[in-house]
């Protein structure tokens, strides 16, 4: 399929979403909470259902509020269970999101007799359809999803710039942050709120798989390349943006090789991020497999005289 303006909009929307996820994602990966995005995107179901029952309409703003509120609750419950119960955080997260999802499912099914609320279609937007829903700002016209993700991006960027030193300190040394008078608990919940809002805004407009992938994979890739926080965030954003563009390119260029028109862009965007990760895994300057192998060889050459003399 040829590349059209339509495709440009899809790629741009994907890039905006990827960058706005990569920023909080970097902190999630550093704090060993990578699975939070996945947990939140499952857990918001009861929020959507309740918002729907409260307003009686499938309007996106109340749904957004409901979902974001439950997303924040997910983080809160996870934190409580792991703190008061002494439970491993992964397990706590799993308990919270499966239970919330189950409650949401029950709510929806018990109402299904008189309303039309299908979880898979209410929950998740599709990035291919974003250019069909345009909004205009003065002379400019852009997809609503691009505007939503752009807004989240600006929000995340300003929070990170304003609170950069607090975020950094509380990610690496929460007790020092506490003794210096920044509440690491507050920063934690702020970050969780950021993740919840980003996740909900993104999956509602472009689909959940992009969010889950873009929260983790670009940040993990960046962590393989650098050990400094600011370069890490910058690389994560770049990797996210590249994989969104590359992903859409792959979605419309690879299937034609097999005689099929195209495939789902959100899937290929996640997969493209995976490819970039593998590239970094192999070729990263200091910690890539190649660099490790070369270093290992050098060390062996260096050590061998000793080994010989001892033998």
């Amino acid at each position: 399929m040829p590349w059209t303006t339509f495709d440009t909009w899809i790629a741009v929307t994907g890039m905006l979403c990827a960058i706005s996820c990569a920023i909080p994602g970097s902190f999630l990966v550093l704090r060993k909470m990578s699975m939070m995005g996945d947990a939140i995107s499952h857990a918001v179901l009861p929020g959507l259902a309740l918002a729907f029952f409260a307003t009686g309409a499938r309007d996106s703003f109340p749904m957004f509020i409901g979902a974001a509120a439950v997303g924040i609750l997910t983080a809160l419950f996870t934190q409580w269970i792991s703190k008061f119960g002494g439970v491993d955080r992964g397990a706590a997260m799993g308990i919270v999101f499966t239970t919330l999802f189950a409650i949401g499912l029950i709510l929806i099914v018990s109402a299904a007799d008189y309303v039309d609320l299908d979880p898979s279609c209410v929950l998740y937007g599709a990035i291919e359809l974003t250019p069909l829903d345009m909004v205009s700002f003065g002379p400019f016209e852009l997809p609503r999803a691009a505007a939503v993700n752009g807004a989240t991006l600006i929000l995340n960027l300003s929070i990170v710039i304003l609170l950069f030193k607090e975020l950094r300190l509380s990610s690496f040394d929460p007790s020092l942050a506490d003794t210096l008078g920044f509440s690491s608990g507050f920063i934690h919940y702020l970050l969780m709120t950021m993740v919840a809002v980003t996740t909900v805004a993104a999956f509602e407009s472009v689909g959940s798989i992009i969010v889950i992938a873009m929260l983790i994979v670009p940040a993990a890739t960046a962590l393989l390349i650098t050990r400094k926080l600011i370069p890490m965030i910058a690389i994560a954003c770049a990797v996210g943006a590249t994989s969104a563009w590359l992903g859409h390119f792959m979605a419309i260029r690879i299937p034609p090789l097999f005689g099929i028109s195209d495939t789902t862009s959100s899937g290929t965007m996640a997969f493209a991020a995976g490819l970039l990760f593998v590239a970094a895994w192999v070729f990263a300057p200091h910690e890539g497999l190649v660099a490790q192998a070369l270093r290992g060889r050098g060390r062996k050459l260096h050590l061998s005289p000793d080994v010989k003399s001892r033998g």
Binding site: K32, F84, G94, I95, T98, V109, T264, W281
Partner: protein, 436 residues
Amino acid sequence: MFEAIIDVLFLKDHNTRVVIISVMLLGVSSGIIGAFLLLRKRSLMGDVLSHATLPGIGIAFAMMTLLGFSGKSLPVLLLGAAISGVLGLLTMLAIRSTTRLRDDAAMGFVLSVFFGLGVAVLGVVQKMPGANAAGLESFIYGKTASMVFQDAVLIGVVALVMSTVAILFKKEFTLICFDEAYASSQGWPVILLDVAMLALVTAVTVIGLQAVGLILIIAFLIIPATAARFWTQRLDYMLLLSALIGALSGWLGAAFSGIFSNMPAGAVIVVVAASIFLISMFFGTARGVVPRLRDQARLKRRVGRQHLLRAAFEILEKQPGPLANTPVSRASLFAHRTWSPREFSRFLARARAEDHLEPSAPDAVLLSESGFGEAARITRNHRLWELYLIRHADVAACHVDRDADMVEHVLGSEIVRKLEEELGPEIGIPQSPHRI
């Protein structure tokens, strides 16, 4: 209505019986395997693997269609799912062992990238000429109620086999859960054992996914094990309890969803399991919140009472003349340590309730005979520890009080005897080495 409930709970109906028994077996096996996962801090592995199966399902379907068969053959799809699940877990282990990334990032990577690939593959498959891929996606959201007899038998058998294998490997799995470094230093193949453990998870996930749905199988691998952990500190009991909780929530959940028709069984089972978890979290005898708070409160009361007695003893010591048990004024006792008025009166009440104080004038405190003895014993322990620190740990005399303050409450008779041996023949109560 009531009879209907009894019928369902006690498996009177043949169809429900088959479904409920197979769900219970699934609960047992995922309870056992989930317990090892929890101890290995990989509870979310079920989540990861259930997402990682998608590309395998899509590719298996595409290959069958290209070869001219019907794509929706269950064994082939399950095989595809298992293969891509295993590839996912190998990727995860490779990331973990060759990069700095932790388990959580490796798991997130596998989950999202494999699922993304799966979505892309399904996108292609659905547009393939001659393929009827409709409903393939709902393959990952199974429906317990519509489970047919063969499915149930398959689940039951696989669940039984997996539980048996997990029990057979108990010693090895325990070793890598608790001390991975020791295991590898003893020559155990840690990576192979990891693969074996996760292969069990994959098998349970793939089977459960098709039959009872994504969310239930994730929950089944996490919730029973975590709930069991609150009741015991021993692995054997934990495995047993976790299996029981899995079976119980499967039974109750499936029965409830049978009673209230059109409730999704998977979701009801999860809610039942989560309720059991909440009860365990609060009241679990080994690590539950309530017993722990109770123990903490008890310790705090004991420490407070002992501090009170020692304060009284130290005041008596300072009085001129030989040591005698005379009333101590409340005001001087209160001034002796830092405590809030409320704490102070609570400790006094406590000591009175334990017969360590005798009635006396309202503004004075009089130790009873047992209270005086106890006060002497605590003071002596405190001083012995202080002297020990000064002589053998080279701690300055002005620093020892705080440390001894915390240790005096937990010095057992054996340690006190050792201290006496260490510190020489002073059997009485030593002088305080610092100003009180």
